[in-house]
Amino acid sequence: MQLSEIQQETLRGARGPGAQKAMEILKAYGACYEAARMVPVTSVHMAGNFPVLMDEGVEWLEDLSRNGTRVTVYTTKNPEMYDPEQAEELLIPTYYQVRQKRIYEALKALGVTLTYSCHHYLVGNVPRFGDHIAWASSGSQVFANSVIGARSNRDGDHVALAAAIVGAIPEWGLHLTENRKAEMVIDVGGLDLARYDPADYKALGWHVGKIIGARIPAFINIPPDIHIEGVKGLLYTLTVTGATGLVHLVGITPEAPTLEAAFKGKAPADVDVVVAQNDVDAAYREISSASEKRLDMVIFGCPQCSIQEIQEIAALLDGKKVHAGTQLWICTSRWVKILCERMGLLDVLQSAGARVVADVGAADGPHLYLKEQGVRVIGMNSARGSYYAHNLFGMDTWFGSTEECVRSAIAGQWRGKER
């Protein structure tokens, strides 16, 4: 891989040991994929909080941040594990507070913008069409490629952070136009998509993700007026059961106004996968891992709830009460929480017994201490969140629509439809 003079100096240690380490990672990464050169990045997003970093990861980050290592590109950060403004109230153990504080100090020293959000493209990190970016967080990475048309590979956090420090990334994979072609056709025209809820799109994504693996699919017959929450639901779930970095939603993805455009030339005559409603129903059953109906908790926000999702939850809860034996949490960014307060939604939600927590997401952060506090059976409207809550933390999960989740939180029992 060809390196610029500055990059070669960085590799020799001229910009300090942190930048040197970052350059070493990128050089090895570029060599693995036979990248010809590095391309400048305009935006970086990194993930990772204590439950996934563990003590060893915190130390790695602290080591990197010593000696004045700084990011040189606008870099935002995914959610942390607890809302610092509710730490006392939520009985967050000192052990975790100390570790989140250490991560905070390291990231601040590195110059990372501390958004603590996984909907960073809604709160200030918006690349443009064709931009080269490095977004870790597999869901938002596929969103950037497929909805915005910016170019990011499925970079792990260490690569994203290295790119933020060096300001460039090896040019391979989805950074190159010829690698952005669709590789298979998924026809969803047989489903009644006009009546699809975002949760239905998540179940659809769960099923299709298992089939596509790392290939780039082109979806045909997605309604052009699909709500953005449906798009997010589909894309974010595809990267849980699969590993694709780009999805062509024909008629929606900027690079795919037509199937021909998705294939950058001639579209194949045959469809590879035709999805039936049975497949989606089976995915619903597979996503839920619980058998006990009594609910300890309903948790929303994987990815963090947008203001539109919270408006829906508030409307469903208005004048009602969450069951005394069940907690209801809404995880979002600090920005959206402030907006909730301004719009009176916070009052509605709090009167109903719901809690809005900022700076966290419902996939990983809170489950570590929630489990220690006795939470075991949880209801979620996120297939992605259900996967991580179950597999990372051993939670028993029920998966359903927002409406089913709210209804269940009020009943204190899972009240989802039989599918």
Binding site: C32, G57, S137, G156, A243, D364, H390
Partner: protein, 133 residues
């Protein structure tokens, strides 16, 4: 038998192979405290990859996987070496930051020649997989 492959990292590792035809997610899919694959329904569910030569098609799932792999490595529960059909970014950087020998794009289908329990050597300096048996 020797199969040529492309190096991802450097170094040599020899050990017992553990083979899966299914993709692996290090976040959620592998317990860093034991190296046990814990994804329900996974071909290797309940089996440990610690100290083994792990052969699988590619990574999948969360991009935070490299943190979990790093923690597993520091706790002595990472595989000794990795053979992938195609290195996915998260697996590649996991090997890069830990220095675990890793190769990908083998010239022959590894699933045809390597079975769980085989003694396998990865020479990532030379880009070679040797099946010692």
């Amino acid at each position: 038998m020797i199969i040529k492959a492309k190096p991802v990292t450097r170094g040599v590792a020899q050990g017992e192979a553990i083979v899966s035809r299914m993709a692996i997610s290090f976040t959620g899919g592998m317990d860093p405290d034991t190296g046990i694959i814990r994804e329900p329904g996974h071909e290797l569910e309940g089996k440990s990859v610690a100290g083994k030569i792990l052969v699988f098609p590619a990574g999948k799932g969360s991009t935070t996987g490299s943190w979990q792999f790093y923690a597993a490595f520091k706790r002595g529960n990472a595989p000794l070496g990795i053979i992938n059909v195609k290195a996915e970014g998260v697996v590649a950087v996991s090997a890069i930051i830990t220095g675990v020998p890793m190769v990908h794009e083998p010239e022959r289908d590894p699933f045809q020649y390597i079975e769980t329990g085989d003694l396998v050597k990865i020479d990532a300096d030379e880009g070679l997989i040797e099946i010692v048996k």
